[in-house]
Subunit: 121 residues, 2 copies
């Protein structure tokens, strides 16, 4: 008789389709980040900032980045420019240019973010 | 006396900030495309499809692509999957995987699109 055997089936499902709202989240002490998809070429994700939260100025050597405002209002800095962007606003942060964003509003700020390339994949 | 002289000053301005609505357009015979920014690493633009318009199945060798639905509803195909995506929907079309989209609704379909890398820069 065969010995008792347990089988665990892990099914990995990959989908080409998603909705940003399935990836929104909140973190008490810093902006919340989630990844929708990523490859060596491109990372697509969300940055979610609660009211008062800030993503400090930083830059990415060799990586271009964009933000698209999906919910809320953000005060962005890119290089020497500081601008407020609302829903539908798009921000381009080229490689090496310092950028950051603060949520000075009273609702959450949800940003679609892309970074290319993304060799840390 | 100095001769009459005309000076034409051309000022090229580059901004890190934009709004998608400034780049929306329409084309009678095919989807309208606009570019927000592009580098060798990343192209960020819009695809705008009038009701009934279709972006036929195609693929990009060595380039990953995403769509984010900003206005309207699209019927997307990626690989063997066919799905309807509404505002906030996100679609990932990895390098080499055929993809396309049709606007079967009665309002314009506006898609934020990113392609990485973008060596044709």
């Amino acid at each position: 008789m065969a010995p008792w055997r347990a089988t665990l089936a892990l099914e990995m499902t990959f989908s080409y389709f998603s909705h940003y709202s399935d990836h929104v989240g909140a973190s008490a002490d810093k902006p919340f980040k989630s990844t929708l998809w990523r490859s060596e070429r491109l990372m697509l994700g969300l940055n979610c900032l609660a009211p008062g939260q800030e993503q400090k100025l930083h830059d990415h050597a060799g990586q271009d980045k964009f933000y698209f405002v999906v919910e809320g209002t953000g005060e962005f800095v890119v290089g020497n420019d500081r601008r407020v962007a609302k829903v539908g606003g798009v921000v381009w942060a080229p490689a090496g240019v310092p950028h950051g964003v603060t949520n000075r509003g009273d609702e959450r700020l949800v940003l679609l973010v892309g970074i290319a390339p993304f060799p840390g994949h």
